[in-house]
């Protein structure tokens, strides 16, 4: 239920595994985490939403912010998600055309423009 965050490096990629609920209450924590990764030098970030149970528009806002932040510093950003319930949210909002969505971390790691 609570937000869980765990970051690891795969070569020059940073994978941020997110679990639990990303909503108006926890989204600020996710934003801070992504900002600190970028401030710490991460340029290729993969946010893994596989274990996310709930995602709302506030969470989407943070993900859009993260992508813009990375583009500004010449980095790149991808999402991992294979849950229909969450994918539907991207589709409804048209954000499936804005984000690069992969169904596995491996695919996302290979796909990122290093």
């Amino acid at each position: 239920m609570e937000l869980s965050l765990s970051a690891r490096s795969i070569g020059d990629r940073t994978v941020l595994e997110v679990g639990g609920e990303v909503d108006v209450y926890t989204a600020p924590t996710l934003r801070e985490k992504i900002v600190s990764l970028v401030d710490g030098g991460a340029r290729l970030i993969i946010v893994d939403l596989t274990h996310v149970e709930f995602l709302d528009s506030t969470g989407l806002g943070v993900l859009v912010g993260a992508m813009k932040r990375l583009r500004m510093v010449g980095g790149d950003f991808a999402l991992v998600c294979d849950q229909e319930k969450i994918l539907k949210i991207f589709r409804i909002t048209g954000l499936d055309r804005v984000f690069t969505l992969h169904s596995t971390v491996e695919a996302a790691t290979a796909g990122l423009a290093g």
Partner: protein
């Protein structure tokens, strides 16, 4: 089963309470399991939006949620924020939000710190909120509040039981 009303100070934590209550009442009203996730998300969206509007206008007034369990499960979320053009502009027309236009104002110009601050994460959230709601909920209406203050988001879903 009748009516459950919830009213809460505009704090993000209480949006979770509203989701919890909404889902509990929906289940007892006999809303199908298959759409419970949508009900949870929709109630959360409507409440997050109301909390964001109250905070933007520094209103401490309570956000109100009314849940009615009859042949339909009906949810009404009421905020008390002034309905100004800025709000309507930021929210856009729910049926025609352009994700590229709204979100990626910096992408064409190759970005820049100044541009990015124009559209905050919160603006994006408020912008997509009604889009998400209108995509999720077949029976949705956003109407002006009583006395022209605030808005009311009304949603309903089929419910199995009427007691």
């Amino acid at each position: 089963m009748g009516t459950v009303r919830l009213a809460f100070s505009p704090a993000p934590a209480h949006v979770r309470t509203a989701r919890l209550v909404g889902v509990a009442v929906a289940r007892r009203a006999g809303v199908a399991d298959a759409i419970i996730d949508e009900v949870r998300l929709a109630i959360g969206e409507a409440c997050s939006r109301a909390v964001a509007l109250h905070r933007r206008h520094s209103l401490s007034d309570l956000v109100e949620v009314e849940l009615v369990a009859e042949a339909q499960f009906t949810v009404r979320v009421t905020d008390h924020a002034p309905v100004d053009t800025a709000t309507i502009g930021a929210e856009g027309d729910p049926e025609h939000t352009d994700p590229f236009g709204l979100l990626l104002d910096t992408s064409g110009s190759n970005g820049g710190a100044a541009d990015m601050t124009n559209v905050s994460d919160e603006d994006v959230a408020v912008g997509v909120s009604l889009t998400l709601l209108s995509g999720l909920v077949d029976d949705l209406a956003v109407i002006p509040g009583r006395d022209g203050v605030g808005t009311q988001v009304c949603m309903s879903w089929p419910a199995g039981r009427s007691r």
